[in-house]
């Protein structure tokens, strides 16, 4: 067993610490050391997207990022997406309204991808093809994607005030 390393980072705005083997990826660390089990693992080789989190605001595969690499950085997971008072983020809300989730296993990764897309578009309009492209790295076996595409379009093309809520 290789020696363990202490790491300190910020997760969902809160400073966290932990001790990990260097080989532990960020997903294992979040799930099993910090018990933030909302981030899921579907392949551990970077294709399914279930493990997607934001690292300093950018979407990454937490299965292809070592926990030690998150040292000193800010990680956002699905648990940190809703407002502190519990209000769902508009993307979460829309996913439910448009039936964009079934088993919910892929959902956390989908939410993180769409949050990044929303930020990248910065209020600019979104068309269906670009939303589908953005979601190409998130496999879902349940929904056929349509509900999540509709959810994304409804939020991204909503009046700016509604989107900011």
């Amino acid at each position: 067993m290789s020696e363990r390393v202490r790491i300190a980072l910020t997760v969902n705005g809160t400073p966290r610490e932990g001790e990990v083997e260097p080989r532990a990826h960020l997903c294992d660390f979040l799930r099993h050391s910090l018990h933030l089990t909302g981030t899921h693992m579907g392949c551990e080789h970077g294709v399914c997207g279930a493990c997607t989190v934001l690292l300093d605001g950018e979407s990454v595969r937490s299965c292809l990022t070592l926990a030690v690499q998150a040292r000193g950085r800010a990680v956002t997971t699905i648990e940190g997406v809703a407002l502190p008072d519990g209000t769902l983020h508009p993307i979460q809300e829309a996913l439910s309204a448009h039936h964009g989730l079934q088993c919910g296993y892929c959902t956390p990764g989908v939410v993180m991808t769409l949050i990044e897309l929303q930020r990248d578009l910065d209020g600019g309009p979104a068309d269906e093809a670009s939303v589908r492209r953005a979601l190409a790295g998130n496999l879902c076996r349940c929904t056929g994607y349509q509900g999540m595409v509709d959810a994304a379009l409804s939020v991204l093309n909503a009046a700016p005030r509604a989107a900011a809520q």
Binding site: E3, R23, L55, R61, C63, L64, T65, L66, A136, G137
Partner: protein, 290 residues
């Protein structure tokens, strides 16, 4: 699917990283990790030492040096994809970049990592090959440079020695008004390239090719440059016949056996995509001239 144990090293400078490479046995550098970490998770790779370059700021960055675009090895693919300088001076790279992996892997994957990994179907080496990339490889003993065409030594094998690492990629820039195109056939939608083609062209006042470059990925272990037909077509009118001739030359190349991509299909795609890429590049050059 958990990686085997390894010792982790996080140098803060290039010099430190090179010293570690010189001193440690069975060490590998970790760039973006989007190819190496899956292989380690699958235990297809299991270095004793992992030297993480992500904390070495001097290894990243995009700048212009004369007629070259110099890209630090640790420059994120997504950063290159979005850089104004790349769009303006080297639009081929920007276009190729959109085809690389997924957004979530481009956020982390690096330009140098992709080139050093030398996956036969990777897009960045193909664009770099069309752009006559000059690679800088360094070790504690010093630096050396060689063109990208000399990099590969076999399937996923390169001439970068165990104590060396790729530090810089210099792409030869084309003059304003050149045309570019990147064409790709994937196994599915945006992902998993079968064959891809990068093309660059400039036209003279008569509408003939004054210069062109075509590189093809997916056929063999490394990108193939169509040097013969590039030379033949200089001075030829940039028309359907020329595009077809380039396509025919591409279609005559040898292709390796690969799962889901039998050689006949890949050769055929090389021809089709070369024709399309060159036509699109020439069209852009023509429009730029107009």
């Amino acid at each position: 699917m958990k990686a085997a144990p390894f010792a982790y090293h996080a140098p803060a400078t290039k010099a430190e990283a090179l010293d570690m490479l010189a001193g440690l046995d069975d060490a590998r550098v970790l760039a973006g990790g989007q190819s190496l970490l899956p292989m380690m998770n699958l235990r297809l790779a299991g270095p004793t030492h992992l030297i993480d370059l992500n904390g070495v700021p001097e290894l990243a960055g995009i700048s212009r040096a004369g007629d070259a675009l110099v890209i630090g090895t640790m420059t994120r693919q997504r950063a290159a994809e979005r850089a104004a300088l790349v769009h303006e001076a080297c639009p081929l790279l920007a276009e190729a970049m959109e085809h690389v992996g997924f957004q979530q892997t481009r956020n982390r994957g690096t330009v140098g990592g992709s080139i050093a990994h030398m996956d036969p179907t990777a897009e960045i080496p193909v664009a770099a090959s069309a752009l006559d990339a000059m690679l800088t490889v360094e070790s504690a003993a010093g630096a050396r440079q060689f063109p990208i065409g000399e990099l590969a030594e076999g399937y996923l094998m390169t001439q970068i020695a165990p104590d060396e690492m790729l530090t810089r990629v210099a792409l030869r820039l084309w003059p304003k008004g050149h045309g570019h195109a990147f064409e790709e056939v994937t196994r599915r939608g945006e992902s998993f390239c079968v064959v891809c083609v990068a093309a660059l062209a400039t036209l003279d006042a008569s509408g003939a090719f004054s210069r062109l470059a075509i590189a093809i990925g997916g056929l063999a272990e490394a990108p193939v440059r169509l040097s013969g037909i590039e030379a033949d077509l200089v001075g030829a009118r940039a028309d359907q016949d020329a595009f077809r001739a380039a396509g025919a030359a591409a279609g005559a190349l040898a292709a390796d056996e690969a799962p889901f991509a039998p050689p006949a299909y890949k050769r055929h795609l090389a021809g089709v995509l070369t024709e399309r890429a060159l036509a699109r590049a020439a069209g852009r050059a023509r429009r730029a001239a107009a």
